[in-house]
């Protein structure tokens, strides 16, 4: 990689560890507002627990609204982290190396955020543990045939495995930080987290194999998790939900939205921490190509949904899709189409893929478009089902929007803490990209 020719092993350590220096004013200027918004989200949640779900805007027939939209959105965001860290690792795509740590962190924090919503959405959130597979007082077990229970298994497995994958990938880098820091408390913390890593060939041997197996597990896992999330809908009988394309459609959408979020996050980080030598235009070019691919799949899914609704001859199915494009929520539908299908189209041009500013703007639109995609799928099918007498309109309340804003703040709070405590770029893997020092070549 010619753009990395000025890098040396020592500079990689310097640059990455320098990011962990004492937080600056700018960091606090970002962190304190996120705390305030998290606090506001918490206030909204307490208000909802105190007053009941009525404040959440749920009205007949729509009882899955913004919270489930947020849940699917955040699970989706999580997916490209695993795509970049695991799937691209198996394919030996080198462009992943400088961004995968940030993407993995994003995965873990996004799953942590997503996991809150099924609980927030409960009428009695203090009973959330009823989801866990244990027999109740009548020795009755949970219903393993329910997609909602599959979700519990899928999301908790995903959180566990992605957190382990994230941590294991960091062990050698934490050891490098441990060797550099001088303050005693930090040294102790990093020493414990590094698990005594010393970089011997014996350690690398087992580490490399274990990492490969983790990647091999994470790959089918990531595909399964969003498939399971899609089956929350597809297993039911509602027009617009009951369709076989949902699993691949959701997986492609998840990767698409996650890539958008990776770009949204890395562009400012690259600028603030001067990581231009690490996160190169080639990295963005690679991600933009994946966006083109997944945007194409998502666009195809939008089209084929309409075709199948028409071809099925089912008045309810066709009515649902006609309603999506022309009904009360048509604006949301067309926002989704424009953001997810039309706005990424210029990325077919190389000059645009390598223009960071345009890429950043496109990524913001992708985030918006994908949130609306989930909203359209969930709310529109519910509000316009089989029986015209049971149709109804749902409007999100300020409580739901407050919790949604709080969830973004919650995600960014973790992310900001991560930037200042753990290595955001993989030190060991960046070194693998550099030419190996050889005496023979030098003399």
């Amino acid at each position: 990689m010619s753009e990395q020719s000025t890098l040396t092993y020592a500079r990689v350590n310097d640059d990455v560890i320098r990011m962990l220096d004492k937080p600056t004013f700018k960091w606090w200027a970002l962190f304190i507002p996120t705390l305030i918004f998290v606090g506001f989200g918490l206030f909204c949640f307490i208000h909802q627990v105190y007053s009941g779900l009525g404040v959440a805007g749920y009205r007949h027939p729509v009882f899955w609204g913004v919270y489930i939209t947020d849940f699917v959105f955040w699970v989706g965001i999580a997916h490209s982290g695993t795509l970049i860290s695991a799937i691209l690792f198996l394919f030996r795509a080198n462009f992943r190396m400088s961004i995968y740590r940030i993407a993995e962190g994003m995965t873990v924090f996004a799953v942590l955020t997503a996991g809150l919503f099924p609980i927030i959405h409960l009428g009695r959130p203090w009973n959330f543990y009823w989801l866990f597979p244990y027999p109740n007082q009548r020795e009755l077990w949970v219903n393993f045939k329910s997609p909602l229970l599959w979700d519990v298994f899928a999301v908790s497995t995903y959180l566990t495995v992605s957190a382990l994958f994230f941590f294991i990938g960091m062990i050698p880098d934490i050891a490098a930080i441990r060797d550099r820091v001088t303050e005693v408390p930090r040294k102790i913390v990093y020493s414990i987290l590094s698990l005594g890593w010393k970089g011997s060939n014996w350690e690398w041997l087992h580490y490399s194999r274990a990492y490969l197996f983790f990647a091999a597990f994470a790959t089918p896992l990531v595909l399964s998790v969003h498939s399971v999330v899609s089956w929350d809908f597809a297993m039911s009988n509602l027009p617009g939900w009951h369709t076989t394309i949902f699993a691949p459609y959701f997986v492609a959408g998840a990767i698409f939205s996650g890539l958008g979020m990776v770009i949204t996050l890395t562009v400012p980080i690259r600028k603030i921490f001067h990581l231009e030598d690490y996160i190169t235009l080639d990295n963005y070019d690679g991600m933009a190509k994946l966006i083109i691919l997944t945007s194409g799949i998502v666009g195809y899914a939008y089209a084929i949904e309409f075709f199948m609704a028409w071809y099925s001859g089912s008045p309810a199915e066709w009515g649902q899709f006609y309603y999506r494009a022309t009904g009360e929520y048509a604006l949301f539908y067309w926002i989704m189409v424009v953001c997810n299908v039309l706005i990424p189209l210029p990325l077919w041009f190389k000059s645009i893929r390598r223009n960071i500013k345009i890429l950043f703007i496109v990524s913001i639109f992708i985030n918006i478009g994908m949130w609306f995609e989930r909203f359209n799928i969930i709310v529109l099918s519910l509000s316009h089902g089989f029986d015209p007498a049971a149709w109804g309109i749902y409007k999100p309340s300020w409580v739901e929007l407050g919790i949604t804003v709080g969830s973004f703040a919650w995600f960014f709070m973790f992310f900001l803490i991560f930037l200042k405590t753990l290595p955001s770029v993989s030190i060991a893997e960046m070194k693998e990209l550099l030419p190996v020092p050889r005496k023979e070549a030098k003399t």
Binding site: A176, N201, A210
Partner: protein, 170 residues
């Protein structure tokens, strides 16, 4: 007090490090460890360690997870059979999701266990024989030998151009 002695030579170049390993082997010193700041295939080749057994942990964990998934779903469903819409009590298609997730979960946890047990983190190398430069830009060769062999080892390391040599009782 052990009669073994550890010697650590520090190098800047990978090819010199590998050459040193070969020389030490030829001189009869086989208890070697190489340190590097990143994984490297050349080091793996020259050290010629047996294939990592982490894979057996992974396989065992995954198989155990699958078995637990089957047992968990089937046995609990049969424990209190409730017929819903005349669907079978033991219905494998929906159970496959649970079985799959448990396979992955236990496989991953077993892989972590395999890594922690086999890589001998913490106990493979004495702390005094570690050098912080090894996590930055240097390569290290650690030799564990009898006290009589230390002089020969030192000579080989010096002749190969080691930048620094450390000694310790092992």
């Amino acid at each position: 007090m052990s009669d073994k002695q550890g010697v650590l030579g520090i190098f800047s170049y990978l090819d010199v490090t590998i050459e040193t390993v070969k020389k030490l082997r030829d001189s009869g010193f086989n208890n070697l460890r190489v340190f590097s700041p990143f994984p490297n295939h050349e080091i793996e080749e020259v050290m010629d360690e047996p294939e990592s057994i982490v894979r057996f942990f992974t396989l065992g964990g995954a198989m155990l997870g699958a078995a637990c998934g089957v047992a968990f779903t089937v046995l609990t469903s049969m424990d209190w059979p409730i017929s819903v819409s005349a669907k079978p009590i033991v219905s494998l298609p929906p159970f496959m999701v649970i079985i799959f997730e448990l396979t992955i979960l236990m496989g991953a946890l077993a892989t972590l266990l395999g890594l922690l047990i086999n890589s001998r983190l913490r106990r493979d190398t004495p702390r005094s024989m570690y050098d912080t430069r090894l996590s930055e830009d240097k390569f290290g060769v650690m030799i564990t030998c009898s006290k009589d062999g230390v002089k020969d080892v030192e000579e080989i390391l010096t002749s190969q151009g080691a930048e620094d040599i450390k000694f310790d009782g092992v």
